[in-house]
Symmetry: C2
Subunit: 567 residues, 2 copies
């Protein structure tokens, strides 16, 4: 992905020479970064973007920061000025200020990346990127830090990395051959892992009412398959978080819903926090938005926490233990006959919403309805806002990938991420629809990437635009009627047409009632789209998903208490 | 300008309470930063944007970096997490990574701003912003650094500044009253300024063939009026640079064209570099793109260089001399009767272009034609690309403001800058058209801001979209037929309609020939627009302005020489 610029043009020439590599030109660099992030979330490997230094690099920065925060593998290749221009601090366009340090942006980036390299030495360039260690040496926790160059860092930490290529080094041949790394996952310390496995197993055998929580870092650290196998094997009551949604098949009998602290169905909280005597927490990412505003209340003494590079059991921590490695070893080591067999918990549904009988599309109705619309093989993408708080109510069958940015929460992320996801599915030769649910406000930040989808002829994308007349989530938080929560009123029915789609008008539809919604999503254009579709779904300005209402109530309560405490 | 977010909502409530202040909601934060930059370039005072921390702050960063590089006054107000959340390093949404330092982004920004402050102490908050010095004290170079808080820093350096407002301090009353600063310009050191004036005057009196170059920093440091007065008074042959264009009335007899090093009409180079014995260089910003790729050849011994905070005469520098202050003092001190009276230089026009007789719109024709279209009072905005290299050929009468980003050169800048410029003209109660010339590629980066123009009912904007089927400037540099220089093909005639304009179709027109162009721009919709207009101007993919051809030839020649030298 990326945008061409005079500092990267000659570099781009090499892309078409690499088998299986293709260039996707984006409308801007922020979008390219978001698209690379979406690509990585589907394919597991890093998404790559190439920009020019300065303008392109900084435009993409928020997208890279999002990948860093959400732990997504992205490689940002930056074509820079020549080393001579750098040395002489020439005032080249895209530099910063007078007597510019051309490398100054390396500093801004260091909080949003795991590693970076400058390809300004042909002797080291190859190993800087992907020659981690000579093949005759064994990689161990003791030596692997010596050889963690950018590809490895990207994989091991599941974080973005940067590769800077000065314009005068683009055509310089590198020495040595590139030996692909044998294993990009974190290598566990054998002794620690063995001890962690033993402790975990004895803890599990001793438990009477264990539960499992599946969270985001399982997918980031490439442990989805082993996690599915493990929860199947254990059969314990299992929950996902908002960020971990879709890792586990939600139609399985042992799946009992989304756990998000106090912002959960009350019985979900009760089962996990009170009734269980063991909580196996797989890959947690405990941001406010993934924990009901930090309202999880699980006693440390009953927690087994499996993180990317360590495992904690109660207050004991086993360092240098890789997540995927640990889960595989656990599966191999555990004896099914000695597992506890907890009874299925009682999770009562919430009472029916007040607006259950409304004819117009409501927040209380649409998300469950979308759960019925999606099929195995689909990708479902939820923008920050009502979609992100609503879609946890959709029951997702096996084989759906759900993408949303719960921790970083950068509005506009999903439109380019949808492009990236669609491209990844194309590269994997997998069918299925890419269903984007985006609010009218969020859409405005990154809308131009719809043009890229059309240019590339991506046919299996359905864009649902929630039109609730502005930033509803902000209205819910503060200033429901304030002008700052209003947006420009766009004619969404003209979007495909403007961005160059043939039959754009015909493939753009709007609905206001549940009946209309049901009819439209039953059309073959929706069950089996042959071209990009836009569905504008009108909803009431102040209609909110219950989880959003609940989250805001918690925050307001906290603010009120703080004010009171201060007197 | 800006975008609301939960960390700034309560702060935004106060905007409507301030007389003469209004909130402009942008489609995204990068656009808000560009718009604030455009606003400042018209109004002289800082443009202000308000974003949420993290996502909003980083999205805007490239726009702030542009303002820093081009020395434009912008204030970025960031609504942040509460000081408690900061202290506890809570994982609040929009933060970076685990155990996040909420203030970490302060570091990324420090290369793009003159100053910043955190409003987390009611005792100091007022003085942190704009109480520079108690009124009973005299501001001198010796003490003013003690009191340079953010407003002053913004003005004195003409650079962006940041104000961070933690959410728990939004409603806290501040102590003391805010006494407006008497003088925000740099205070000259009296002795140095007097010495510089004396040396300048004697140098001028002794010259036989002096010339003046007017450059960008004159406008940034609020010295446009005094500069106009000075060049009128001197009557010496006067030139602008690409970045200094429109400061001087180009119809005056003493104006002789644009000087951009070797990328100039040959006689312009000759007069300045060879024939003159004194070059008075006002406010130079010597980036590659403003100097024909660093090809200016003016002997230091014949240069008087007037910079924002010092003056150099030959190899002697007078520090702490403010630009506007110096020029005013010079005007007051100089004796007209003792001025040299150089004869008008001979500047021969370039030979007619090969395609002079073409019927279709050509690069060799359209820019001069635009010079005839603009009128005093108009704002003319040129996007990086062919427009920026072409418009130096347009002769601009008095009272035009020309906006372009020559040094930073971030494509997409102009669409939001156009919004900002239009708002500034509205706030100044000045009429005149806002004419934006943007390429089809650049338009794609920031197009959504057209929606904001429509939402606000800005009626006097004319958007000319140069449709030459992709990134022509990149094609000219490298890879003319490569796919990476292609873009998505948009239907520009559907743009206004999509973004919600009434009569969008009627106000969207396309031209291919000079005749059509002449006819359209003669319509009253163009001479006196009552609603936003779009004119798509088709041009050939590889048609280039001569200055761009010349610039690229210089760069290629240099690269060839470097390669040769290296063997």
């Amino acid at each position: 992905m990326g945008v061409p610029g005079d500092m990267n043009l000659e570099l781009l020439d090499y892309i078409k020479d690499v088998d299986g590599l293709r260039w996707i030109g984006n409308a801007n660099e922020l979008n390219a970064a978001y698209a690379a992030d979406g690509y990585s979330r589907i394919k597991g490997c890093p998404g790559v973007l190439v920009t020019t230094f300065g303008v392109g690099e900084l435009s993409a920065l928020n997208g890279i920061a999002g990948a860093y925060t959400e732990q997504v593998k992205v490689i940002h290749v930056v074509g820079t000025t020549s080393t001579t221009a750098q040395k002489n601090r020439l005032m080249i366009h895209h530099c910063l200020g007078p007597s510019p340090d051309h490398k100054v942006r390396v500093t801004p980036n260091h909080h949003v990346r795991a590693a970076h390299c400058w390809l300004d030495n042909p002797e080291t360039a190859a190993s800087e990127i992907d020659v981690g260690i000579p093949t005759h040496r064994t990689l161990t926790p003791a030596n692997h830090h010596l050889h963690q160059r950018v590809f490895r860092e990207c994989y091991v930490h599941s974080l973005p990395v940067y590769i800077f290529v000065p314009s005068d080094f683009v055509h310089v041949p590198v020495s040595g051959s590139i030996s692909p790394l044998a294993n990009l996952a974190l290598i566990s310390d054998h002794e620690n892992e063995t001890a962690a496995i033993a402790a975990t197993i004895s803890t599990i055998y001793a438990a009477k009412s264990p539960v499992v929580i599946v969270d985001a870092l399982v997918s980031r650290h490439l442990a989805i398959d082993v996690t599915r196998e493990l929860v199947d094997f254990l059969g314990f009551p299992t929950f996902s978080t908002s960020m971990g949604k879709s890792i586990i098949d939600e139609t399985r009998p042992y799946f009992h819903g989304i756990y998000n602290g106090q912002v959960s169905v009350p019985d979900v909280c009760k089962v996990i926090e009170q009734d269980s005597d063991l909580v196996i927490d797989l890959g947690p990412l405990l941001s406010d938005s993934n924990t009901g505003g930090h309202t999880r209340k699980i006693a440390e003494s009953k927690l087994i926490t499996v993180l990317p590079n360590h495992v904690s059991i109660g207050n004991k921590t086993y360092q240098e233990v890789g997540l995927a490695s640990f889960l595989s070893a656990l599966l191999r080591s555990i004896d099914k006959s000695r597992l506890p067999r907890p009874s299925a918990p009682l999770i009562r549904e919430l009472p029916p919403p007040r607006d259950v009988d409304a004819e117009h599309v409501t927040q209380s109705w649409v998300w469950k309805r979308l759960g019925l619309f999606v099929r195995p093989g689909d990708v479902l993408i939820a923008e920050s806002g009502t979609a992100q708080f609503g879609l946890p109510d959709a029951q997702l069958p096996e084989g759906i990938t759900y993408i949303t940015q719960v921790y970083y929460g950068s509005i506009g992320y999903t439109v380019p991420a949808c492009l990236g996801a669609a491209l990844a599915r194309q590269d994997l030769d997998q069918s299925g629809r890419i269903i984007l649910v985006v609010g009218d406000g969020s859409l405005q930040l990154t809308v131009q990437e719809v043009g890229t989808m059309i240019k590339l002829g991506l046919h299996n994308i359905i864009i649902m635009v929630i039109n609730n007349d502005g930033y509803t989530i902000e209205r819910a938080i503060h200033g429901p009627e304030e002008a700052y929560n209003d947006i420009a009123t766009w004619n969404h029915m003209g979007m495909l047409d403007f961005f160059g789609a043939r039959d754009g008008q015909a493939n753009s539809r709007a609905v206001r009632t549940k009946k209309e919604f049901d009819e439209i999503v039953s059309l073959t254009e929706y069950t089996n789209p042959k071209t990009i579709q836009v569905l504008e779904v009108f909803m009431e300005k102040m209609d909110l998903p219950w989880r959003l209402e609940s989250q805001i109530a918690i925050i307001n309560e906290r603010i009120a208490q703080t004010s009171k405490a201060r007197g």
